[in-house]
Subunit: 508 residues, 2 copies
């Protein structure tokens, strides 16, 4: 059926069809149709919304994300037809029924995830099915390769290409801003793609964006890496392993991160940028994604096995994940802290030592440092100022201002200092509580929002001593965060610890 | 935040917010907000779409299904605020993790399904989780009661109230049009709510709508039943167990019907209409929902146990489900066939005997017939013409024309007779293939579309003899169905059976 296009600038996918036309097409609200632009030959599937008044019969409304695929101008003619049920739904059902998926079946599903030929609900059925009926390593390998092959890939002429990943869940984990410059300054290439915060206070991409643009195509990432040795960009803009972003959005309300999908997601991104040496940071501890050392070892073995199947050398480092890394949480606060470390500040040691350990592993894997000597070489690169220079080259090539210094990056102007109600030792941090507060204060959208911690674990505190400061760019957000902060009290001083255990603490 | 309402007549739920307002509210596309109408006090949660052009900042677009809950007029002022994450998501996750749900947790989920406080994706996660991690009978009882309590209920002053249900999957199953009039003519009350076809060729509600309106409120159903003893209405309009419809829509793409949900869905509808005597027809056979007699027995035991928990007396009848019931598939063809039986036609016996068996069970359960005498009493009611008279009363009270006769109900004017390519015996029907053809021809939307079978199982056929006729209201649909019919050949004659087994037959 030929219908006249009306562009609907709503940021979603789908088509809006008049009820009369829907009847003639034989489709109902929620069904899928095929849309063809006969002029440019582009076509896509889309789900149907219906109306009786917004459109006249003979017109079809295209929401923005759908029109991006077929490129119509207002008033042009679209060919709309009933669309079949994608066969990938049968494979999802197969997984729901507890069967293993073959390579071809996995590819079919991932292809349809990327093209959005399956709906968010259908994707959620796949995610839930693989969460419950866990994938074996063959299936994980298929998923990884399918994620790689359905997106962009970099291809460098020389090896090694290094990459680094931190399994999430630890607030304040700005180490990529220190690790990437050290590795690149050593002469290695590290085209780092990173994520924005979904449930966290700031992803590495959110941090880097404080200093420079982070939206680049895969080709641009490759060119920049060839020129200066490293980049820190947002993976979402590169179209590398795009299936992963769509999966993550669906997982978000449930805060799940199924092991198989996590392995595939991480390794697909590394494989797609051409990395052959990969360091993976696995923070372990209460309130992180990996609770015990035993679980951490198992996850590490899985990463290494998957790496071997993909011909990548993987080393994993289990790190202490029960406390935030450094003292800051939230974009500007974290960027300033990382810049200070690159500028020579000897504190915070948790940030410096973790960064050097991970960079050191990469230096040893690549032969830039002798076995056992990696941290020392990394420290020399950091302390010599070479890492700072390299970081400024990276900022510059991404279009930021290389003259930036830590003093330029300021937190929000509204702040509130939370003081200890009791005397005692700082015994615990609640990672999720800290992240919740930072987000209530405005992180990551409001870059000045965040938390600055004043007390380290084990410090002796007197009643009235400052525990942490909440920063915000807006007063009403600060007030909300302060109110919630009093309830959550995410920095725990010994004397009050037992009082904070009851059920009303809802961090999960 | 106060925003001015713009009504968007798109048949879906949600709000459209300008990106600037979304930023100030602290919400992203896909997040949920609370919408309050301060004038009438109504409020609802809704998911956010965003735009930069369709609205100006300060305005909020309300899609139709969302505005139905809060009742704004164009230009009024809505209070929009960030909405928390519903706690039911934690319970869904609990089920994903293989735990049992309590009564309160189940109620919380069902409440949010009905109010649409959880998204279709989140609902799909629940459905997938309960499909894989099956519910035990306690959980099924909780789900049933929650479905009942979140919708309308009928309450009759006298008992018994009878109800009848057929587990689906058998094409042409128009028996309710015969069973309900027989039961009502015996003096019993049977307020039958029924469904429209989702994957089938015609649901009972689609059939009845050929003769009379089927959209009534629960109160109207009760009043009509009190007056004439029976109704045949569409359950979706009554708001009885509304959670079920929302679940079924999500299950549709996967063609799943998890046992626990099916039990809860059926029994919730019976419980909610006040039924205390329930007959359940379980068609058993290849290509039905219940493949073996053993599975059928197990399902029957489950229905009976769930009934006991709800203080309802349940009897189940396993019936032969491998062939269509009667000779017709599709709304008008089926209605005409059922009317002919009520008018005294002695054929088709499969329809008559099945209807009498089920009606007979209800008559025996209620004491209207002695044990072992039910079929006989039912046959007397049918053959005396009392069932036809009662059916006309039902048609009349629902607003249809009681003077209707089977001769008035005509199939579509386009038709094609499919002939046997070989000599041999009719050995099999492919239920799913028949349904597919009827749907391609236009069923159930086009009431004249459908299939008329000419040959019964076991009949001797010569090459060139008619096997079945496809009817359609539109020529292009007929052509499509004929083409597909040649490929599927859903009536199998011995001589060609082996040739139809290869993989290219894709009925599932």
């Amino acid at each position: 059926m030929k219908l006249t296009v009306r562009l609907l600038d709503i940021e979603k996918r789908g088509v809006l069809i008049h009820n009369e036309d829907a009847r003639n097409l034989g489709v109902l609200k929620g069904d899928r149709v095929q849309i063809l632009n006969a002029v440019n030959g582009e076509s896509t599937a889309a789900f149907v919304d219906t109306t009786s008044t917004i459109l006249v019969p003979g017109n079809v409304g295209l929401y923005r994300n759908t029109n991006e695929k077929v490129g119509f101008n207002e008033g042009e003619s679209a060919e709309i037809s009933e669309s079949g049920r994608p066969v990938s739904l049968d494979y999802i059902k197969k997984k729901m029924n507890g069967k293993r998926l073959t390579k071809d079946e996995t590819y079919s599903i991932v292809k349809d995830i990327v093209s959005e030929d399956i709906s968010p609900s259908e994707l959620m059925a796949y995610i839930t099915a693989t969460y419950i009926n866990t994938m074996d390593m063959d299936e994980i390998e298929f998923l990884t390769r399918a994620m790689v092959d359905t997106g962009e890939q970099l291809s460098f002429h020389t090896k090694p290409i290094v990459d680094k990943h931190s399994v999430g869940g630890v607030p304040g984990n700005k180490i990529s801003l220190v690790v990437v410059p050290i590795i690149a300054a050593s002469g290695l290439k590290i085209p780092k793609t990173s994520s924005r915060a979904i449930t966290g206070a700031a992803g590495t991409a959110d941090l880097m964006e404080v200093l420079a643009p982070v939206n680049f195509s895969a080709t641009e990432v490759q060119q920049m890496t060839q020129k200066v040795g490293g980049t820190i960009v947002w993976g979402g803009a590169t179209n590398i392993a795009p299936a992963d972003d769509k999966i993550i959005i669906q997982e978000y309300p449930f805060k799940i991160d199924a092991r198989g999908q996590m392995l595939a997601s991480v390794m697909a991104k590394k494989y797609a940028v051409g990395a052959n040496l990969v360091v993976i940071d696995i923070p372990v501890g209460k309130n992180t994604k990996v609770v015990s050392v035993q679980d951490g070892r198992k996850l590490a073995r899985d990463f290494i096995e998957l790496g071997e199947r993909l011909h990548m050398k993987v080393e994993c480092a289990m790190t202490y994940g029960s406390s935030p890394v450094g003292h800051s949480i939230g974009p500007n606060l974290e960027v300033a802290e990382a810049l200070r470390v690159l500028e020579g500040d000897p504190e915070p040691s948790s940030l410096i030592e973790k960064s050097l350990s991970l960079a050191g592993i990469a230096l040893e894997m690549s032969g830039k440092a002798a076995k056992g000597n990696g941290i020392k070489v990394a420290r020399e690169i950091l302390e010599s100022g070479k890492a700072l220079l390299k970081f400024k080259e990276i900022i510059s090539i991404q279009g930021g201002d290389p003259k930036v210094s830590s003093a330029d990056i300021l937190p929000g102007k509204y702040k509130f200092v939370v003081k200890s109600p009791v005397n005692g030792y700082v015994v615990d941090f609640d990672n999720k509580g800290l992240i919740t507060l930072a987000r209530m204060a405005g992180s990551p959208q409001d870059r000045g929002a965040g938390i600055l911690l004043h007390a380290k674990r084990g410090t002796r505190i007197e009643a009235g001593d400052p525990l942490f400061t909440i920063f915000s760019e807006r007063n009403w957000r600060l007030n909300k965060a302060v109110e919630e902060g009093r309830r959550l009290m995410p920095v725990l001083v010994e004397g009050m610890l037992l009082a904070r255990i009851p059920d009303d603490i809802k961090w999960e």
